[in-house]
């Protein structure tokens, strides 16, 4: 009980902290390397897909002289590594090229569409986590009872029913028949031209500037698509939670907790679930990542101006710069999510420190 002993503890914690920082730096280094690979990948796609970037600019009626001039202007006569260096340095300054279809800088387009997807994915994931984890826990604790069966059916529907069908049914029921919720889009037409969203996050900006009528309208609009994404994420998260919980509940330390005379609630939520969180971090992060990538079908059905829709339409229009920019963004988002889950995991689980 001397001072030296607490000093040792502090010393050990300091060592652990340094190990943690080293681990994070290492992970970040891996992320940078992955990012480099990603740019090589998108660059290669742009150069090797059988669409002619020059033709896309000059059109197929241009003369050979014009074609040759543009070919030179675009630097296509230079060696590949020079082209890549140019491409990479342009990316570094945020120049993703120009979208032929929207006539905007791709960077500006992405800045506009990504927040829409971000808002939808975040609320969807929140719904998925807040409902999925308790459902999974209940299914594990009441294994074999109707709760478990119900969660199984919910999961099965989530895995097997196409999302666009559920989306259309949702619109049909809550918009067309019951008229409880607004139709597709992010905002009512009345607000669409009067409300200026600075960050692109409508909910956030509306709340920040105190425009509560806009905020509630945006809430009503996001409810159905977010509930839909939340449902699918809930289906996945609840199944995973159930299996992680069953694993934890069969561990010996749970028997110890029972021997100690703890309440069942404490055993389940404090002991078993906290341990189940360790693998759940990865599951939730991956599910969030897949939603951030833009759920094409949901965004289509709900006319949601997000990343998924942008990526799809630019692919349909062979709008190469836009498609590659969006692909790159998806890659970066995934990298970031992975990095985040890695850090969270290390902070949360003392065994990994």
């Amino acid at each position: 009980m001397s001072d030296s002993s607490s000093y040792t503890t502090a010393g050990m914690r300091w060592l652990a902290f340094r190990r943690l920082v080293t681990a994070i730096v290492k992970t970040a280094a891996v992320a940078v390397i992955t990012l480099f690979g990603l740019t090589v990948f998108t660059f290669s796609i742009a150069r090797y897909v059988p669409t002619d970037p020059v033709l896309a600019v000059v059109g197929d009626k241009a003369s050979q002289a014009t074609y040759d001039r543009v070919y030179k202007e675009m630097g296509l006569d230079k060696p590949m590594y020079v082209q890549f260096a140019t491409y990479a340095s342009r990316l570094a300054t945020g120049d993703f090229g120009k979208s032929r279809f929207t006539q905007n800088q791709v960077f500006d387009d992405l800045k506009r569409v990504f927040p829409a997807t971000f808002e939808l994915a975040t609320i969807g994931t929140l719904i998925g986590v807040l409902l999925g984890i308790p459902l999974g826990v209940l299914a594990a604790v009441r294994r074999g009872t109707w709760v478990d069966q119900l969660s199984r059916v919910i999961g099965l529907i989530g895995y097997s029913v196409p999302i666009f069908w559920l989306g259309l049914m949702g619109l049909l029921i809550f918009y067309a028949y019951l008229d409880w919720l607004p139709g597709p889009g992010r905002l009512d037409i009345a607000y669409q031209y009067t409300f200026e969203s600075e960050t692109g996050l409508v909910l956030f900006d509306a709340a920040r500037t105190g425009q509560w009528d806009v905020f509630f309208d945006a809430c009503r609009h996001i409810l159905l698509p977010a509930a839909l994404l939340g449902y699918f994420s809930m289906a996945y998260i609840s199944r995973m939670t159930r299996s992680f919980m069953l694993n934890e509940l069969s561990q010996e330390y749970i028997t110890t907790a029972r021997v100690k005379g703890l309440s069942e609630a404490r055993i389940i939520w404090r002991h078993a679930l906290r341990n189940a969180f360790v693998p759940l971090i990865t599951v939730v992060a991956l599910s969030y990542g897949s939603l951030l990538e833009g759920s094409v079908l949901t965004e289509m059905v709900f006319a949601w101006p997000g990343l998924g829709q942008y990526l799809t339409s630019s692919l349909m229009n062979t709008d190469m710069d836009a498609a590659l920019g969006a692909t790159l963004l998806v890659g970066i988002v995934f990298l970031f999510i992975n990095l985040l889950s890695d850090v969270l995991y290390r902070v949360y689980d003392p065994r990994t420190r």
């Binding site: 009980m1 001397s2 607490s6 010996e252 907790a257 005379g261 703890l262 002991h271 341990n275």
Partner: protein, 281 residues
């Protein structure tokens, strides 16, 4: 044997049965014994039902197992009729159990101190400071030289012997009347086994607790306990006084005893236990 007017624990005709798809498995059959504030050893080989006996007393038979008994009375409290709440009160506060391997029996993401405090607070209205002091004192009682430091460590950061001492501290912090030790040293290095046993021995004597010591180690049990129950295939074959083990009557016990290698005389080959199907009947 110290006979008290009211025994600490009375078990009469206890059965533990697991209903499996492949048929019923009777882990414990017709178990009866009475325990005072003394040390009772339960020995038997793997699967003989000794661990399930310990768990059944605490009402912790894991599903799909069920426990039935004619009588299961702890210090005048009928455990068969006690409410869940009452049972929970008894668990940890009056009956505690030390399990085999601290690597699995401690929660991996809680510090050792937090786990001891949790055990204490489950049965005592106590603030953070008081609970911490109790936990630290208990860690000192199990001969951990640096309780302040160990308090903040996670289970994976300590050795097996240290972990098991922390486990003992956690189980004894509430001052229970009966301790069930389920192979408390089997997972430990031979070098630390003796030390952990000595600590357990001292604490049990000091506090006048009853002890049920479950083990497969016959000589160890006989040196540690007053009486020994020998189990085989879920049944108690015989009850012997620990000092009288050499004179055990049942052929199984005698067989087990004879199988032990000895340093003094070289027996080659070691005798093998000849099992009689009658024993399991």
């Amino acid at each position: 044997m110290t006979d008290t007017p009211r025994p600490l624990l009375e078990v009469e005709n206890m059965n533990v049965c697991f209903r499996m798809q492949s048929g019923d498995v009777e882990a414990v059959r017709n178990m009866s014994f009475t325990l005072g504030r003394e040390r009772l050893g339960i020995v038997g080989e793997s699967g003989s039902g000794k661990s399930q006996t310990g768990r059944a007393i605490l009402g912790l038979t894991p599903p799909p197992g069920t426990m039935t008994a004619d009588r299961l009375v702890f210090d005048g409290i009928d455990l068969l009729r006690a409410s869940r709440r009452k049972l929970r009160d008894i668990r940890g506060k009056r009956i505690a159990m030390v399990m085999q391997d601290p690597k699995y029996s401690l929660n991996p993401i809680m510090t050792i101190g937090a786990q001891i405090v949790e055990a204490y607070q489950a049965h005592n209205r106590a603030g953070a400071k008081e609970s911490r002091d109790h936990a630290l004192a208990m860690l000192e009682a199990v001969r951990i030289h640096d309780p302040q430091r160990v308090y903040d460590l996670y289970p994976h950061e300590v050795s097996g012997g240290m972990g098991q001492r922390a486990m003992i501290a956690m189980m004894l912090v509430t001052n229970p009347d009966l301790l069930i030790a389920d192979e408390p040293t089997s997972a430990l290095d031979v070098t630390v086994q003796a030390e952990v046993l000595r600590i357990l021995d001292e604490l049990v004597s000091e506090r006048g607790m009853g002890l049920i010591f479950i083990s497969h180690d016959l000589p160890l049990v006989s040196s540690f306990c007053n009486r020994v129950l020998v189990m085989y295939a879920g049944k108690v074959l015989e009850e012997v006084d620990a000092c009288n083990l050499d004179n055990a009557k049942h052929p199984y016990t005698r067989g087990l005893y004879r199988c032990l290698p000895s340093l003094k005389c070289d027996v080659k080959p070691l005798p093998v236990l000849q099992r009689d199907p009658q024993w399991a009947a």
